[in-house]
């Protein structure tokens, strides 16, 4: 059986940003809502379609992930912030609502702390980035790739359709490529030891969303984030793991309510 198209329902555009091919998915009309994806793009963005009823949803593939090209010159998170300044110029996006998941949550926080005036509302979904000394972030780079999907969800059936049924060299190669991009960024430190120092700059209304059963980045880290961010609410969803948006429609709706 063919796997469902993880990008169904989106329009695809391609931009060349500083020499790197950048693929962008869009859907809907209205104020821009940008979603920064996490380190694995195989499960797609079907969860984001309800947002397109009210917003112009923009989902760029980060360079080195999914349909975007590679740029080994992007070697830290700040390089990605700079990449998005250029992409947003190309897209004509000035102010935006920003939602970031996992690695993309870390990137969204970093973008918002540096360019806070542009980010009207910020949603961080199971964000990476903190070391979380007593509630540590799992080190996804040290996990065998075949073990990762099951670790990300509470209910495996939700993601099963997106995974190959047996050994699949292309799927394996795609994941290895995304892992390599991640290693380039994070091998030395799978967290940003200075992140908490600057989180107070997130002065926009901020929502922290987590799956209660997140086995990669414990939901208990939500409290650490809130302790540094001036105006942050927390919503934790039962019966969901790291991929809380894929697993719980309620989480998708909660994001939509918060953004409105």
């Amino acid at each position: 059986m063919a796997r469902p198209d993880p990008l169904a329902g989106f329009e695809r555009q391609t931009h060349t940003i500083n020499g790197v091919k950048t693929a962008v998915l869009t859907a809907g009309r209205g104020e821009p809502l940008v979603f920064f994806h996490g380190a694995g793009t195989w499960h797609g963005f079907n969860f984001a379609r309800p947002w397109a009823e009210k917003y112009r949803v923009i989902i760029p593939f980060h360079p080195g992930f999914g349909e975007s090209g590679d740029d080994p010159g992007l070697s830290d998170m700040h390089d990605y912030v700079m990449h998005y300044l250029d992409l947003f110029d190309a897209l004509g996006v000035d102010k935006l609502r920003l939602v970031g998941f996992s690695l993309g949550g870390w990137l969204a926080a970093k973008f918002a702390m540096e360019h806070g005036r542009r980010v009207e509302r910020l949603v961080l979904v199971g964000p990476a980035g903190l070391r979380g000394k007593t509630r540590p972030t799992g080190d996804v780079l040290s996990l065998p790739p075949e073990q990762i999907p099951a670790l990300l969800v509470s209910n495996f059936d939700v993601i099963k359709p997106y995974l190959p049924e047996g050994p699949d060299l292309d799927f394996m190669g795609d994941r290895y490529r995304e892992g390599g991009t991640l290693a380039r960024l994070l091998w030395e430190h799978p967290y940003d030891k200075k992140l908490s120092r600057y989180l107070h700059r997130l002065t926009m209304p901020t929502l922290l969303v987590w799956g209660e059963d997140d086995r990669l980045i414990p939901a208990a880290q939500a409290e650490i984030w809130r302790s540094f961010i001036p105006k942050a609410d927390i919503q934790i969803f039962k019966g969901a793991g790291h991929l809380v948006l894929d697993e719980k429609r309620e989480a998708v709706d909660a994001v939509q309510r918060f953004l409105s």
Binding site: P144, G173, Y176, G180, A183
Partner: protein
């Protein structure tokens, strides 16, 4: 075959006293618990292995070869320069090949100094190789596998600058800044010891060796790949203005010699089995940390990995890899054929195979030293005479 035949004896110095439950571990690398290392047994093994390296010199090998691995029972040489330093005063003729410390795992200036020390101590008998390091080394050391190849090139650049330019010089790179690159001592050999790249024939390492005009010491390559590798290297090196000589292409051969073919197989196969099935056993994730390989190379290797790391079938191994097990006559014939096919006269002999006991290593080295090496030298010399006439 042209030129002098050269024989190296390569030792991995494995820790062989594995626990009975060792098969329960998917990998004997990276995360194999080090509680299983008994230093008293380790001491006895060092004594024995050092003696075997020294013995190889006595029976007529041209060189002894040591190398570096971490977090594994496969090798007790986390620091091969220490082994080289221990044997230099006891080895009278043979070259000392440290093939080698991955430059990414040390500061380049320090590696330049270490090797220069060994070269001076050995009166110019050092040869060095610059491996990228296996994927497993990047799980054991705090170095990014995704930038390993760029760092590797820069490290070699720094080492060569340190050896070939009068110091102090400066180096402002992507990974290292040197305000005073001025290592003491300097190498005994001029401009520097013979250098090799070590690898399994990836396009990146072959290109690097070609660019630098270095030799290429291939490890665990299949017969088909060795041929392609040597051809590619010669062609690419020529494009960079370098001529690769046969002796720059050491061919790694698992070798065991006994009275009869049957006896040789009977005595060697269990250790070859141990070598592939146990010593080399590791996981795909450890072999290929994120970013260490190109995606294309990862896909290519996915098939080969099963053959090399973990599963054992002597016929398959024999067919795919360079394994010469038999009488002296058979081994001579085999080595000559392979040498001619891949274009080398330089054989890197794995003669202490896996968990082979001391007596077999001594027997093997003795046969090689008495019957194989002199015969191949004599035949090569007579070919040279014929060619000269």
């Amino acid at each position: 075959m042209s030129g002098n035949v050269r024989f190296d004896f390569m030792h991995f110095m494995p820790y062989v006293h594995l626990p009975e439950n060792q098969k329960d571990y998917k990998s004997l690398w990276v995360d194999f618990p080090n509680k299983y290392y008994d230093p008293q047994k380790g001491h006895a093994l060092y004594q024995r292995y050092l003696a075997e390296l020294i013995f190889a010199d006595k029976v007529g090998f041209d060189a002894v070869v040591v190398n570096e691995h971490h977090n594994t029972s496969y090798s007790m040489m986390a620091a091969p320069s220490l082994v080289a330093a221990a044997i230099i005063p006891q080895i009278k003729n043979a070259k000392i090949c440290v093939w080698g410390t991955p430059p990414n795992l040390e500061y380049p200036n320090r590696l330049a100094e270490e090797y220069a020390m060994l070269d001076v101590m050995s009166e110019g008998r050092l040869e060095v190789a610059f491996p990228l390091g296996t994927g497993m080394e990047y799980w054991a050391n705090p170095i990014n596998p995704a930038t390993a190849r760029e760092r590797h090139r820069e490290s070699i650049d720094i080492i060569l600058q340190a050896w070939t330019q009068d110091g102090p010089t400066t180096y402002y790179g992507d990974f290292y800044t040197y305000r005073y690159l001025n290592p003491w001592p300097r190498p005994y050999q001029k401009p520097h010891p013979p250098c090799y790249i070590v690898g399994t024939g990836s396009p990146e390492t072959v290109e690097l060796a070609a660019k630098l005009g270095f030799g290429y010491s291939s490890v665990f390559v299949t017969k088909q790949r060795a041929l392609e590798l040597n051809q590619n290297l010669r062609r690419l090196a020529a494009e960079h203005g370098h001529h690769i000589r046969p002796e720059q292409l050491p061919l790694q051969v698992i070798t065991y010699v006994a009275e009869t073919k049957e006896k040789a197989e009977e005595e060697a196969i269990e250790h070859i089995r141990f070598f592939f099935e146990d010593a080399l056993r590791t996981t795909p994730t450890f072999l290929a940390p994120p970013g260490y390989l190109s995606v294309a190379e990862l896909k290519k290797r996915a098939a080969l990995a099963d053959k090399l790391h973990g599963a054992f079938n002597f016929d398959n191994i024999n067919e795919s890899f360079f394994v010469a097990v038999g009488t002296a006559d058979q081994v001579v014939e085999q080595l000559e054929e392979w040498g001619a096919r891949v274009g080398t006269n330089h054989f890197n002999i794995l003669g202490a195979i896996g968990n082979m006991p001391h007596w077999k290593v001594v027997k093997n080295l003795t046969y090689l030293g008495q019957d194989v090496i002199p015969r191949m030298r004599a035949r090569a010399a007579s070919e040279r005479r014929v060619a000269a006439e």
